[in-house]
């Protein structure tokens, strides 16, 4: 990226991965809009990012899962005077066993992880198309690569995002803009706080953030974070069914 100040919108800015990424961008003196539900939390993140060097960090309290994406996004791009990066970082994991008993909860999960994300991506595309530049970064998950019994509803929403971002990357490429899906593996965040005995495969949010910040500069359309997950998922995707069915994953 040039020495010019980057203009960035972060959706779900209070998530651990998004905040860690925001700190990298703050050190690069970016201007950011921080979107999330909790105004007080956004305020504390904004003060931190500005202290760390961000040229601006503006809290933008909003429920991303239930917002008028197109209208809101227009206002954000206007406030920033254009857009270089949109990071879509909100989402929920849900509990598979509970979800399978509760269609309403499933609908909410799909609204949050997928339906609302489609609206934001389309809103961003309109601007990226017009500019002929910029990057749309969406956080997916390795869980979207192959349906597994332990979390296939969550996995389905993340798999859906993968197809969406892939298609948009295809569409934007000739115009000079990019769409990138970042697929983290296991990340040590509040979303996974209830998992015990985190082993070697677990990454810190800062590691994923470095992958995201790199993706803002170049690459795509699919990026694994950390990169070794590409190999792990390659193997998992190609396991023959008779083997896969015996794995309790």
């Amino acid at each position: 990226m040039s020495a010019q100040t980057q203009r960035i919108v972060i959706l779900g800015a209070a998530s651990a991965i998004a905040e860690a990424t925001g700190r990298i961008w703050a050190a690069e003196r970016a201007r950011m809009i921080l979107v999330g539900r909790d105004a007080a939390r956004l305020e504390s993140i904004a003060a931190d990012l500005e202290t760390r060097g961000a040229e601006g960090a503006t809290p933008w309290p909003l429920d991303c899962a239930n917002a008028d994406a197109a209208a809101q996004f227009g206002k954000m791009a206007e406030a920033l005077g254009g857009l270089d990066v949109l990071l879509l970082a909100y989402g929920v994991l849900g509990n598979e066993a509970e979800l399978e008993q509760d269609p309403k909860a499933v609908a909410t999960l799909i609204q949050t992880n997928f339906t609302s994300a489609v609206a934001w991506c389309l809103a961003a595309r309109a601007i990226l198309e017009k500019q002929g530049a910029g990057a749309l970064l969406v956080i997916g998950s390795v869980a979207g690569d192959r349906g597994r019994r332990s979390n296939f509803i969550y996995g389905a929403t993340k798999g859906g995002l993968a197809r969406l971002v892939e298609g948009m990357a295809h569409q934007l490429a000739p115009l000079g803009a990019r769409a990138v899906l970042i697929k983290p593996g296991f990340v040590d965040t509040p979303m996974t706080a209830s998992f015990r005995n985190k082993g070697l495969l677990w990454a810190q949010p800062e590691q994923v953030a470095r992958v995201i910040a790199a993706a803002a500069r170049r690459g795509g359309p699919i990026v694994y974070a950390p990169a070794y997950w590409r190999l792990i998922m390659l193997i998992i995707r190609h396991l023959p069914t008779f083997v896969f069915d015996r794995l309790n994953i």
Binding site: A16, D38, S44, A47, D48, P190, A193, R196
Partner: protein, 442 residues
């Protein structure tokens, strides 16, 4: 999420890795999560902890729960003109330096690792190589935020809440959850120091050298060979340094490719390797004797270059013994300690000797006091190690000295109460406790 607030975790240990009791830990990211955490879980006691560089059990709470503050790590404000910085308690010294060094500021004093949090530095009233000029960390704290289970959120200043202020500095996290800290930083003219390295032969040479260095050097510390006997007994390397004013503000890197991924086999550090290390270290540094220009990171934080170096001590872990001896008795007592330690053959390579200045430490339970402090690690070998330390206790107690709670995992309660005589005045939070506190104070 609340149902998952405290999760059992057997990987949460103190730096010495001796106590292996699993801890139940909550990992908040925002200050707004803290009130429910200290109110939660019925009668179980709480303890807020940071990067757990305390060696013993002052950062553990096996029968209660831990609140890991490392995720509550935001800067609140920093004024590059005045050097006043306010940050949440989970901000590490490493993060702080990465922000302020390039703007010409440094921590007022720093311990031997930058992987400590501001909350931990305050709660242990840490000290550094500049103690004779700067005093302990607490002297540079302007105010802090404290969350009490009985009084809620407080902003604590020395004028407004003197009892709480002086209880919390060095108060081992027992007076409430420290939410943020406001510090006065110090100006630096560059990120490098002029370091003079001087070998000395025995304690008789050390004392005058340390004394003469005081007025002219801001930072002084000595390594002492606790493994060698005979003619080599008490030899060591003193280094003394001042900041260089050259406007070169290089910031340290906080990531290291060097790390110890597993616990080493128990034999890795034994009598032979310990003595060999001391020999090599002495000769390497003697060869380097003289002046050099050093960046602040290798000067203040040599061990930070190897992440998780404490795993070298293997599965059983290590104990550190750090005592302070009042000035009047320092020569005889340090001499006596050295005798016992070298005779035992148990000492490892990291022995540090330093003199404290006269600036009073503010905390009721602060460790630094005028005199000399000796710190060294012992691989934990059960009874043999504990017996050795009991002998050392005898020398320290007779000299009117004290042990550093941040390093301690075994001192008798009676010794703590005698060497920290104001312990009963601590304005403790009724909901908070630690393994250390239950061991020494109840």
């Amino acid at each position: 999420m609340q149902e998952f607030a405290f999760v059992g975790d057997s990987d949460v240990l103190s730096w010495g890795r001796v106590t292996r009791e699993p801890q139940r830990v909550a990992r908040p990211r925002f200050r707004d999560e803290l009130p429910s955490l200290i109110g939660d879980e019925g009668a179980a006691s709480k303890l807020a902890v940071g990067l757990r560089r305390s060696y013993g059990d002052s950062c553990l709470n096996g029968s209660g729960v831990l609140i890991d503050m490392c995720g509550v790590n935001r800067f609140i404000h920093f004024h590059p003109e005045t050097g006043v910085l306010r940050a949440e308690a989970g901000v590490s010294l490493s993060d702080l330096l990465r922000l302020v060094v390039s703007k010409g500021w440094f921590a007022p004093t720093t311990p031997g690792t930058c992987f400590v949090t501001l909350g931990g530095a305050l709660a242990n009233d840490v000290h550094g190589k500049n103690h004779h000029g700067a005093g302990s960390f607490g002297r540079h704290v302007r105010s802090f935020g404290l969350l009490r289970s009985d009084r809620g959120r407080l902003t604590v200043t020395p004028e407004g809440e003197p009892a709480l202020f002086f209880s919390t500095i060095g108060g081992l996290g027992l007076t409430g959850v420290i939410e943020w800290v406001e510090l006065q930083l110090v100006r630096i003219g560059g990120a490098y120091l002029d370091v003079e390295t001087m070998p000395y032969n025995g304690l008789d040479e050390f004392w005058p050298l340390a004394e003469e260095s005081g007025p002219a050097f801001e930072h002084i510390v000595a390594w002492i060979d606790c493994a060698s006997r005979g003619k080599k007994r008490g030899r060591g390397i003193l280094s003394r340094a001042n900041w260089i004013v050259d406007g070169v503000y290089d910031v340290h890197h906080d990531r290291s490719w060097k790390r110890v991924p597993f616990e080493a086999p128990g034999l890795a550090l034994n009598r032979l390797t310990g003595r060999a290390f001391n020999n090599v270290y002495y000769h390497l540094n003697s060869a380097k004797a003289g002046k050099s220009r050093q960046h602040y990171a290798p000067f203040f934080y040599p061990l930070d270059a190897v992440r998780d170096w404490n795993r070298l001590y293997g599965r059983r872990g290590m104990l550190q013994y750090q005592c302070v001896i009042p000035r009047d008795n320092q020569r005889d007592a340090i001499d006596a300690l050295l005798d016992v330690i070298t005779a035992s053959g148990q000492a490892s390579f990291l022995a540090v000797l330093k003199t404290f200045g006269d600036l009073p430490s503010p905390g009721l339970l602060s460790f630094p006091r005028p005199g000399a402090t000796l710190a060294l690690d012992f691989p934990f070998r059960g009874d043999a190690t504990l017996k050795l330390m009991t002998r050392l206790d005898g020398i320290v107690a007779e000299a009117g000295g004290a042990l550093y709670p941040a390093k301690d995992g075994r001192m008798p309660g009676e010794m703590f109460r005698r060497s920290f005589p104001r312990w009963e005045q601590l304005v403790k939070d009724p909901a908070i406790s630690s393994d250390f506190w239950r061991r020494v104070a109840l």
